[in-house]
């Protein structure tokens, strides 16, 4: 075991040398290890460089557009006018930023339940409404014409792909939150596995979380609870418990979480052949600057088959 660990470490070091164009260390008569290094050299030698024409063409194309925003500004037009208005006048910019901060604060307070016009109107009925906070909030949004979540039944009936459709659901469920907007889901969640798996074989599942928003986010709990459901019946056959930590993500950062399902249900029995779905839930997303969750409670499904031999 120690010998293998040592070989692995040595191998990594030698690959680093190889990539730097240096000679690997001596193999000391270890033919297996020498073979590994030789093979690594071959992998390295087989790497393909981009075609010079492609490199040049893409470069020219990208660089011609790398200055477009500034050229557009120089050539005037509505965008130029707005840019000048926003950026050319510090006082106006300050006023705009201040307004934005106030709006953000109001929005967050509203999300936190500190401002609730319905509670003010309801007077003594407020405690009872608090018990049904979720439904009351839905009703309020419906009345006000804001983006309202779908009815509970609809939500359960929907079968979603993890990325685009989850985003659409988030759009429907979300009230506007400053900084992200009502139509933007800040975290892109994608689950991957092969479309079919042999009966009894381990099912490797990868779930990628990507911060698609403009600010740092905290995802919690991490990892989120992952459920394996039987398609059609929606029965949860296996539940992978949520973790207890949280994940901080910078903009554009993505994180891969992998797990393996042994095709057994929660009682340890092999499930039958058929279609199953990976369901991700319990995840809440917070901007790192406060403790009010963003409207990104992620729930999505990707389906795959377990097939008999």
């Amino acid at each position: 075991m120690a010998r293998r660990d040592s070989s692995e470490k040595r191998f990594s070091d030698d690959i680093e040398r190889l990539l730097r164009g240096e000679a690997p260390g001596p193999t000391a008569g270890d033919s297996d290890y020498a073979g590994m290094l030789q093979f690594a050299r071959r992998i390295f030698a087989l790497r393909q460089e981009p075609r010079p024409e492609f490199t040049r063409r893409l470069r020219d194309d990208l660089l011609s557009r790398a200055v477009e925003p500034d050229e557009a500004r120089e050539h005037g037009g509505v965008r130029s006018f707005l840019d000048n208005l926003l950026f050319g006048r510090p006082a106006l910019r300050l006023a705009l930023v201040s307004s934005f901060i106030v709006l953000a604060a109001v929005g967050l307070m509203w999300r936190a339940g500190m401002i609730s016009p319905m509670m003010e109107q309801a007077g003594e009925a407020a405690p009872a409404m608090l018990e049904e906070e979720g439904e009351a909030a839905t009703a309020m949004l419906d009345e006000e014409g804001a983006a309202a979540p779908p009815a509970k039944g609809e939500e359960e009936e929907d079968t979603m792909r993890v990325t685009e459709e989850a985003e659409e659901t988030a759009e429907e469920e979300c009230a506007p939150v400053p900084g992200f907007g009502a139509t933007e889901m800040p975290v892109d969640i994608r689950a991957y596995t092969a479309p079919s798996h042999k009966y009894g074989a381990a099912v490797e599942i990868s779930i990628v979380f990507e911060n698609a928003g403009p600010g740092t986010l905290s995802l919690q709990p991490f990892p989120p609870r992952v459920l394996i459901r039987e398609a059609g019946t929606d029965t949860v056959v296996r539940s992978f418990a949520a973790g207890t930590s949280q994940l901080e993500q910078s903009p554009m950062e993505s994180t891969q979480y992998s797990l393996v399902w042994d095709q057994k249900d929660d009682s340890g029995t092999q499930v039958s052949a058929g279609r199953y779905e990976i369901d991700i839930d319990t995840l809440e997303v917070y901007p790192s600057t406060n403790d009010v969750p963003l409207p990104a409670s992620a729930r999505g499904v990707v389906a795959f088959d377990v097939v008999s031999d």
């Binding site: 690959i15 073979g35 087989l46 907007g181 403009p214 903009p251």
Partner: protein, 201 residues
């Protein structure tokens, strides 16, 4: 517009490629130069990484173009204190490749006759044929590895990242990267006909 304004503002404040001079000519020039420098330094690594992942030169070109389109769109929001440019770009490349596989709804199944389009530009027909065969075998072997191992091989040999960078990107430990790299190369070698111990060159 507001979001765009904020992003632009963020780019200026966080040491992105923008500057505070307000001179549009200088700004345009510095942005263009910064992007050109990034492209020149990192495009080959991104392309090679993608090539290992998809095993097809023309597809790798398309995806590389996608990666740099995205990089251009988000260039002003890149924060150098958060990640190295190479790490940022490789993260975009990984997501682009993953999205490609998802959107094309396919599992990479490599047929025996599925030869790469442009394996070599070197002279010599025999050498080219041999190289084509090696690339094909490598592609076959890679496709049999778990996705994480494919990623490690591609990040290591394609993007030229060290174990620490790979570990950070894949959110696994550095020692785990070393272990998986060793085992993945071993599995590849075993899958590579004619490349077992000592028989090669």
């Amino acid at each position: 517009m507001l979001a765009q304004a904020m992003v632009a503002e963020e780019g200026h404040q966080t040491g992105g490629p923008g500057n505070d001079s307000g001179d549009s000519d200088d700004h345009a020039r510095s942005r263009r130069e910064a992007f050109a420098e990034m492209y020149d330094n990192h495009m080959p690594g991104v392309y090679r990484y993608i090539c290992y992942r998809v095993g097809n030169a023309s597809l790798a070109e398309d995806l590389t173009a996608d990666v740099f389109e995205k990089a251009l769109r988000h260039f002003d929001s890149y924060k150098r204190e958060k990640a190295k440019l190479s790490t940022w770009l490789t993260a975009i490349a990984r997501n682009t490749v993953t999205d490609y596989f998802r959107k094309s709804s396919r599992v990479e199944v490599v047929r025996e006759d599925d030869a790469p389009e442009e394996a070599s530009r070197e002279p010599g027909v025999e050498e080219q044929v041999a190289r084509l065969e090696e690339v094909r075998q490598l592609k076959l072997g890679l496709s049999t590895l778990p996705q994480l191992d494919q990623d490690i091989i591609s990040l290591k040999f394609g993007a030229g990242m060290n174990n620490r960078e790979i570990a950070r990107m894949l959110k696994v430990s550095e020692s785990n990267v070393g272990t998986r790299l060793y085992r993945a190369v071993k599995r590849l070698r075993d899958a590579f006909k004619g490349w077992s111990n000592g028989t090669e060159g």
